[in-house]
Symmetry: C2
Subunit: 345 residues, 2 copies
């Protein structure tokens, strides 16, 4: 509750002197500075945030707008936390936007100067928030890759590249028949482009390499039948020797449970590679090698771009930053078993 005036009075100096001591923008004698700092500590003075940014100053807040309000994927909080962490490292706080109409919310906080910049999460292929970025009057970064991104920067993993890398890796291990385990997420989020981006590029690359790709059926979560999946794609003579997982960790976990019970060991009998997932925050029944999404990387890059735009006035509109996928070996990949009479059942 103490203001700068109280500090000034207590230290016996003028208000401006206090301000200069605190900001270091003009030289102040040590003697005076010490008296001022003393008073600051004694009175527990913290400058008022609003008053501070009254002279054309930054609010040091960035707004973060998750997309759909139905949050089923737990990775969302990873993005929240990573964004907040990076923001804090740059001296910014993070404002969470969750209104009915996301665009309205963004407009409000951006135009009222409550926030200096905007990060969009859960960006869909046709994303209204991204399309209207020009109206915000503040720099804007998408984590994701919307079609219309003329007025914002985009940061994402290069999922097309991931598809090719996955195909390469499996082919190099001799896998010729692969099954793609897809999440039911597709049903509820048809627009979330990255899953399709990966899938298409993986299938194209695999076929280039003479591999056979099967795709699991898309069903409701609750109806997913791991037994049926295993019976259909892994047990037959010409079943797959590798699973590429694009599904929710728990779906994969169920499959692993069935494999384990049936004595179809990973990776001896079947290799598993999970792509575009985030398993390390997730208790799997078995270590699964992975080309994960990387919230830390994307958030960090997003924040660099954003802070550059805010503080150095870089124009980041239209910029696209795709990062090369990483691979984490958790031992679930090995050479394809020899073509044999297939299965154990």
């Amino acid at each position: 509750m103490a203001g700068i005036k109280d500090v000034a009075k207590a230290a016996g100096v003028s208000v401006s002197t206090v301000s200069y001591v605190l900001s270091g923008k003009r030289s102040i004698s040590n003697k005076t500075a010490d008296r001022v700092l003393d008073a600051v500590n004694r009175l527990n003075y913290i400058p008022d945030a609003s008053a501070r940014k009254m002279r054309g100053h930054l609010s040091h807040v960035i707004a973060i707008a998750p997309g759909r309000r139905e949050v089923r994927h737990s990775s969302l909080s990873a993005y929240f936390m990573q964004t907040a962490l990076r923001a804090k490292a740059g001296g910014y706080d993070v404002l969470l936007l969750t209104g009915e109409d996301p665009v309205d919310d963004i407009l409000r906080v951006a135009q009222s100067n409550l926030a200096d910049g905007v990060v969009l999460l859960d960006v869909e292929e046709n994303d209204l928030r991204a399309a209207r970025a020009a109206e915000y009057g503040k720099p804007c970064v998408c984590i994701g890759f919307p079609k219309d991104h003329d007025d914002c920067a985009c940061v994402d993993v290069d999922f097309a590249c991931m598809g090719r890398l996955a195909a390469d890796r499996l082919r190099d291990l001799g896998h010729e028949r692969v099954v793609l385990l897809r999440s039911v997420e597709h049903l509820s989020e048809p627009m979330s482009g990255y899953l399709n981006l990966f899938r298409d590029s993986f299938i194209a690359a695999a076929e280039d390499r003479q591999m056979v790709v099967m795709e699991s059926e898309l069903t409701e979560y609750r109806n997913f039948d791991a037994n049926a999946f295993v019976s259909k794609y892994l047990i037959p003579k010409n079943g797959a020797t590798a699973i590429v997982n694009q599904a929710d960790p728990s779906v994969l976990n169920t499959v692993l449970g069935v494999l384990s019970v049936s004595g179809m060991d990973v990776p001896q009998y079947v290799s598993v590679l999970s792509c575009g997932t985030l398993l390390d925050s997730y208790p799997m029944s078995k270590g699964i090698s992975e080309m994960p999404i990387t919230p830390a990387v994307q958030c960090s890059r997003a924040m660099s771009l954003l802070l550059g735009a805010i503080e150095e006035h870089h124009d980041i509109r239209g910029e696209v930053d795709l990062s090369v996928p990483t691979f984490i070996d958790r031992g679930s990949l090995s050479r394809a078993r020899e073509a044999q009479k297939g299965g154990c059942g």
Copy 2:
């Protein structure tokens, strides 16, 4: 970028008239009001947030402080979103705090008037953030139940009550032998009181009712062996007829997988009741009846308390609001099977 002065000029009135039209705090003739509103729309005027709260006004921001930065439980984002939703409904935005030192962060945003109030998430039994609430100078609500809560309000599910209700429900269905499936979360979060609160009250209530409670071993996630669990607690002659799950959904899912493969049907062979979890945002292989945590309820109550404190100056320090647990029937409970030669293996 247009300011109130521009609007005033465009409408041909004084600055104060514009302000009164917008706030409705004094009567203004319709004619003038229309002209002003016209100008506001034409210029796309949005008042500057900082300037607005310069005269002793509220910032209409509440700060939300998650506890541990390692976020493995996905329910965190449910709390984020629910808090933000409720806050927005009351006209508040939400600021996400994630600094190294949570107390510092809270002090900073509270004392600088950046936020009008504070919500603490992931509150532990001995929570420093709660203990120091007096210093914030703003009202503070915990979601959780710390020991030292003299200076903040607490909102939580009544986990002791949940333990009793769970015991009652199982006993009424004739279950006399129950196994408690505990999460490994305990290992990493020894202080997170609610799991123990439930456990202790459940065990006490169950023993009161002449039930036998077994407890699964606590191991690392990756080492959790669902087969061993099933063999040890469910297959033997005197095995449990019901599982009370307190563990991570994916651990439970693994168990369900083993049960399903082994032909031990739920609920015919074994009943399952999950407590203190949040399965509906989580794709389980099978519907599991549940006494869930209820982020929406807690966040809503927390926000009511907080807004009451902020806007009506209620003193909410020391207040405790425990909500009665809810039960969701998803069909995984049935009468205990008759004592028989036990198991299928």
